[in-house]
Symmetry: D2
Subunit: 135 residues, 4 copies
């Protein structure tokens, strides 16, 4: 699938992944880099970005990486997500780099590293497992 | 802190924890049961509730349990969240039961089990670690 | 399967689960309580028990709980283990309580709480996912 | 610390990390690559390597990477380990690449990818948190 096809499909099944807030910066086999703008609903007092916003982004980026590999499978579902919050994000765009570590017949495992745009040290790191329905 | 004090404080620091959607059903030492209404933003096609909504609820419930024990510490931050999605939630209220497993000087660890209201089998189970600032 | 049948089967596939060190104290649907003696190989300087010994016990206890439900399936494999170390174990026996949270057709998810024998506060808490081969 | 100093120190506090089985192939800031030979105690029927052996290696490799950065601190303890088992390891040496993602004052977070020697696809991927005592 192309970036546009993937985003269109994801917008239909991830209602919270506001397509106007999400862009695919780079997409290749087993990898995607997603950019997500943030707004006031993503913020915590002090200007940092909330944990749930980062968790939603990690889930979304992995789903995009997976769909680009296996095609539109709305029923692929997250079975496990583990996230470590490393540093306070700066206000501004978040960048999520998703790398698929294993794409099996029934399970896909990947890792997602989240950055504040323009800063080299990660703000969060997640690993996720998706269950893939029989095809 | 009383349930009302906790919810007021949380509403200030967790902007996404819409206080009109959240109620504390039971609060005692190291434990809280939280009820959260859901709306169209929480839904996936087919009527199930999105993973990010459940992750936000798990984080929120653990934070409530922790604040009730240590008092208003806005700077307590989630450092790790691990969640297993077990079954499709039904549309309707979610119930989160948070149990603190360890309340240390620097770290608190807890588990949160999430149910669809009225159904005994859990829809998700999370473990979380919070870092507690020096007091 | 009975406790004796389960332990005999596990001893064949988990070579490190020295059957002379492991006993089933209680076994019922979706639950097992396992007792494990420790020896010098499990210890750290200062007399505490090593993390890897507790991880192996968590894995072993969940496997026992699962086998007791689905029968001897050597090919059930751990796909994910998340463990939080809560307190220093005392020297002596470890008690692991494994509870299956979901027993699906393809995946089983459970939690294991580990105690030092006779002490009510847990020393570690793990969640595990097993992949179950087609039957 | 040099590789030899690190291994000597680790051998004293990780009794199960048999120093004759462990070698440091590469050590630089925030990164180590560890090689570990396996023997009959690490094996499962069918010749694959047991999960607990891989968990112990992940813990050990992260500890080595951390000690090389902060010096000999026996009391640095693992607080969380999350591991995904991706593929069956082949019999033979395991290679663990540990990368520190955050080295804070109180917590260090890293990821460890484990390979069968000579094979490019990972057999397991872990993330770990260590608590660092006040210095």
């Amino acid at each position: 699938m192309t970036p546009v096809e993937v985003l269109d499909f994801v917008a239909g099944v991830f209602p919270e992944s506001d397509p106007e807030k999400t862009a695919i910066d780079e997409l290749r086999d087993n990898y995607v880099r997603v950019r997500r703008t943030t707004d006031s609903r993503d913020l915590r007092p002090g200007g940092t970005i909330s944990g749930p916003s980062m968790m939603a982004l990690a889930d979304n980026a992995m789903y995009i990486a997976l769909l680009a590999m296996i095609g539109p499978v709305a029923l692929a579902v997250t079975t496990n997500l583990n996230i470590n919050f490393l540093r306070k994000p700066e206000p501004g765009d978040l960048i999520a780099e998703a790398q698929i570590l294993k794409l099996g017949r029934r399970l896909a495992v990947g890792e997602v590293t989240i950055f504040s745009d323009g800063i080299s040290e990660a703000v969060a790191h997640a690993t996720l497992t998706y269950s893939i329905p029989p095809r």
